[in-house]
Amino acid sequence: MATAEVPKKRKLKVKRFKPVDNPKHTYLTDEKGLWAWMTTVDHKKIGLMFLGATAFFFLLGGILALLLRTELLTPAKTFVEADTYNQLFTLHGAIMVFFVIIPAIPSGLGNFILPMQLGAKDVAFPRLNLASFYIYVVGAIFTFIALASNGLDTGWTFYTPYSSTDSTSSVIWVTMGIFILGFSSILTGTNFITTIHKLRAPGITWGKLPLNLWAIYATSVIQVLATPILAITLLLLTMERFMGIGIFDPAMGGDPVLFQHFFWFYSHPAVYIMIVPGFGIISEVITTFSKKHIFGYWAVAFSSLAIAFIGFLVWGHHMFVSGQSPVATTVFSFLTFLVGIPTGIKVLNWVATLYKGSIDMKTPMIYVYSFLFLFSIGGFTGIMVGALSADVHLHDTYYVVAHFHYVMMGGTIIALLAGLHYWWPKMTGRMYNEFLGKIAAGFIFIGFNLTFLPQFIMGSMGMPRRYYNYIDQFTIFHQTSTIGSYIIGMGFLLIAYYLAKSLFRDGERAPANPWGSRGLEWQATSPPDLHNFDHIPVVINGPYYYHKPMEEFQLGLVDFHGAEVEESEKEVDMSDEKEWVNYNLD
């Protein structure tokens, strides 16, 4: 695959471009105003708009979570009716999954970071990128229409025949909303795959691609391959409800279990759409804050692809007690364990990266530590519910609820927080308060475990999920869990406070590369120029070559826009890797 801007000649004239601190022109100072933002094709602005939208939905989903945890303080009614409670958990799930976790890292952070890590000026299809955002907004509007009419009480999984015939809520509005949202996901995936293939700066071979981009690449592949199945499933469900086409309706000869197959064929890979980009962030942050080359680059890179691939073959593990065929159940269980292996490899490689590093416990690194601990628990309990006979007992209990929160929140959201803190100076040009950052990370870690550890115990004791009333013996676990959720809420409020504060006039200005990272995105100014770099970067070192001096990461093409030749001009040979990797600039 031809990389984007490598001219045919073997030797490139390069010089050093050192990013200045406090740049005059940035993407934030150029093209200002509401209209400029709304019509922008700049990937950075679109990324921020996605982050803003997901933050809004995270707030909404979070409030729903606190409300439903509050309802569960007492075994019977605490303050809402059963129907309201059913709506709370359904909307919490649907909003968090479809509107927050799936788009937050790829479409939000990814949009911002991906072209910068590639040394590109934008994604391959900037207008399509903006279209993605507006499609997301339209999907959101549909969902709000549903909220304003009868809400949704089917559970985020929409199981038939409850969702197709029994529910009296606004199922069609939500399924259409998510159908539309799916196109946002598909277009972003298409855009990113093409960008990674076609827009890499000279010298970025596949072996020098940051692991964050390997992860986003794997994610995009899943998005493109799995989301259309969700689209067709939701379309069929909509038609089922709209005119009773009967495909999932037992009364007409259809099969409700078929719906579950269709649904999980998307929604299991979707779990990897949610977690794999988090893996990418962890790889970036852990190398930066231990100032060390990633341990097992190819193992980490390929395990993302392996997870993406095997992830397509395990959907049936959500259905061990659904009445699917025994052969299918056996095969799905087996494959489920295989997907655990690349995940384990990643965790161990990250821990090995720390060995003999120079570890700086800044806020993003604290989140990485939280991630490694919480995600490991999520992984081990995943093995537990993958084991057939154990799953029969644990299926649809709070054990499963705790398991996927350890993965989705302990994994993805914590990784998102790591990434957000890590790239905050790059995105905004401001430093947040490090002390408050650590305090908030502590709140979230403690609150999280307090919320979800008791759920493992009560789930294992038999407490089913999606229960409005529960029997008295589970009271203490539910109450502990509710208290934990309040602590998480305080943690997030604190984060919102100090991040917002950093944006005001007195916020401390961030240097171009506050963490001393070797990643290409840190060689742009903070915040970056409207076109990211005002030169074409040339990459001769991998993104984790901490044994190389910083100068070697700041090279750019000399003969671009007729720039003048300076004394530091050197030639690097791009055809023979050995030679130019060892090229000494001095």
């Binding site: 097992g296 081990f380 084991a387 057939l388 006979s389 007992h393 299926h395 294992s460 901490y546």
Partner: protein, 317 residues
């Protein structure tokens, strides 16, 4: 040994009352817990130890270039692979057992509906929300749903199976001692999902026979008694109270010959035909203030059944 260490995690599980179905599940859970704790402990220790030992001393710290180590990669791929293969085999074995009911199992027919359970015995007896079984003998439940998907879960026995509207599914267990166990519905099925509970009542074998023979085949007794039994078996009382309180549907108390106003029809007085229509075609007239939620009982109740129910409703003044 296994049981002793595994016992560390027993606090997480309810007392096992059907070892034939649950023992293997408990063992595998204990095994996974132990191995997981060891590995998690190791990983956590390494992380924390590195964070202290290799903490950054100055911004100019030099770190060694360690890119990869093939033997290590192979080791931490193959060892977990072997471990998960063990878990897979173990889980598969236990699951096969859970899916193979012994030939001599005592069979009970189960119907799940929104929101309750009916258990039918070969004598014709029908019991709502309580399944009585003999101790020390395998019991097999043959289950179907009247409406949406439900799931039959007994934590004490470590068994669970979805109950489907278009096919039969089965579950089996063998309770060893007399006592009671909780049954939950574990597939979300709407408003009163969390009230869709039942009890397994285990009798000594001879007590069970006595109990069974006491149960009349078709509810027995006068039409009023049969009607009372029917509205309980068929789950009517999950939504319609008999004491005047409002549940999901209007109460039965004082229903007979009362004046009704509807969302979608002109008012009328409750009589036989109105009740009959409400049972067979519930959507035709929706009582004001309520939603169109009820499913038709066409095919589930005979004309005689409906007559009996009407007789019973007449008594609820």
């Amino acid at each position: 040994m296994d049981r002793i260490i595994g016992g560390l995690f027993d606090f997480m599980l309810p007392e096992l009352k059907s070892p034939l179905t649950g023992a293997s599940s408990d063992e595998i859970m204990a095994f996974i817990h132990i191995v997981s704790f060891i590995i998690l402990g190791g990983v956590t220790f390494a992380m924390v130890y590195f964070a202290i030992k290799y903490r950054r001393k100055s911004d100019d710290d030099e770190t060694p270039l360690i890119t990869h180590h093939n033997q290590l990669e192979v080791a931490w791929s193959v060892i977990p692979l072997l471990l998960v293969l063990i878990v897979f085999g173990w889980g598969y074995q236990g699951w096969l057992n859970l899916n193979t009911a012994p030939d001599n199992a005592y069979e009970i027919q189960v119907t799940g509906f929104k929101w309750g359970w009916t258990f039918r015995y070969d004598t014709g007896a029908q019991i709502p929300n309580e399944v009585h079984v003999p101790a020390g003998r395998p019991v097999k439940l043959v289950m179907k749903s009247e409406d949406v998907i439900h799931s039959f879960f007994v934590p004490d026995y470590r068994v669970k199976q979805d109950v489907l509207p278009n096919r039969f599914s089965t579950v089996w267990f063998q309770a060893e001692e007399a006592g009671e166990s909780q049954v939950f519905c574990t597939e979300y099925c709407g408003t009163s999902h969390s009230n869709m509970l039942a009890k397994v009542v285990v009798h000594e074998p001879e007590d069970f026979q006595n109990w069974l023979s006491e149960q009349a085949a078709d509810g027995g007794g006068t039409p009023v008694e049969r009607g009372e039994n029917l509205i309980s078996i068929q789950g009517c009382t999950t939504c319609h109270s008999t004491d005047g309180s409002t549940l999901i549907g209007p109460t039965f108390q004082g229903l007979w010959e009362s004046e009704r106003t509807f969302e979608n029809a002109s008012p009328e007085t409750v009589d036989e035909n109105y009740i009959r229509e409400s049972i067979l075609n519930p959507s035709a007239k929706i009582v004001e203030g309520f939603q169109d939620q009820m499913a038709s009982f066409e095919g589930r109740l005979t004309d005689d059944d409906i007559t009996d129910i009407i007789e019973y409703l007449k008594t609820l003044e």
